[in-house]
Symmetry: D2
Subunit: 80 residues, 4 copies
C-alpha cells in the first residue's frame, strides 16, 4: 500500500475514534445520572418506609388503646 | 512522513478504537441494566403505593364504622 | 262500764279503723306503683345492656378488622 | 243494744284494728325497702352512665387520633 492510503486510513480512524469517545462520554454521563437517580430513589424509598413504620407503630398503639377501652366496657357490663 | 509511520499510526489507532468500542459496549450494557432496575423499581413502587392506597381506603371505612358505633353509643346514652 | 261508754269506744274504734284502712289502701297503691316503676326500670336496664352488648361485639369486630389492616400494612413493609 | 253487745263489738274492732296496723307496718317497711332499692338502682345507673360517658369521650379521642394517623398516611402517599 502506498503512504497515501495509510494516511487516508489513519485520518478515517482518527475521525471514528473521536466519534466513539464522544459517544463514550455521553454514555458515562447518562450512567452517572441514572446512578444518582437510582440512589436518590432508594434514599426516598427508605425515608418513605421509615415514616410508614412509624405510622404502623402508631396504629399498633391505637389498636392497643381501643382494646383497653373495649375491656373497660366489657368490665362495666359484667360488673353491674 | 513515511509509509511506515502512517501504518504504525493506523495500527495503533485500530487498537485504541477497539478498546474504546469494548468500553462502549460495557457502558451500554450497564446503562441497559440500570434502566431496567430503575423501571422495575418504579413498577414495584407503583404496586406498593397502590396497595397502600387500598389500605388507606380500608382505614377510612373502619374509621367511618367506628364513628357510627360512637354515634349509636351516644344515642343510647341520650335516649335513656 | 256503762253501755254508753262501750258504744263511744266502739264508734271511736270504727273511726280509727276506717282511717287505718284508708292509709292501708294508699300504701298498697304506692307499693304497686313503686313495684311497677322498679320492674319497668329493670326492663329498660336490660334493654340498655342488650344494646350495649351489641355495641361491644361491634367494637370487637372493628378492632379485629383494624388488626387485619395492621397486619396487611406490616406484610407490605416486610415484603418489599 | 245491750252493754254486752257494745263490748263485744268493741273487742272485735280492737282485734281488727291491731291486725290492720300490723299490715300497715309491713306495708311501710316494704315501701321503705322498695324506695331504697329504687334509689340505689338509680344511683348505680347514674354511676354506670357516667362511666359510659367517659368511655364515649375516650372513643372520641381514639377516633380523632386514628383520623390524624389516616391524614399522615394520605400525606405520605401524596407527597412522594
Amino acid at each position: 500500500e502506498s503512504a497515501n492510503e495509510f494516511r487516508s486510513q489513519r485520518d478515517s480512524l482518527i475521525q471514528r475514534l473521536q466519534e466513539t469517545e464522544v459517544r463514550n462520554q455521553t454514555l458515562e454521563a447518562q450512567l452517572t445520572d441514572l446512578e444518582q437517580r437510582l440512589e436518590s430513589s432508594q434514599l426516598e424509598r427508605e425515608a418513605f418506609r421509615k415514616s410508614l413504620r412509624s405510622l404502623l407503630e402508631l396504629l399498633d398503639s391505637k389498636i392497643f388503646e381501643l382494646n383497653e377501652l373495649r375491656d373497660a366496657l366489657a368490665k362495666l357490663l359484667e360488673g353491674s
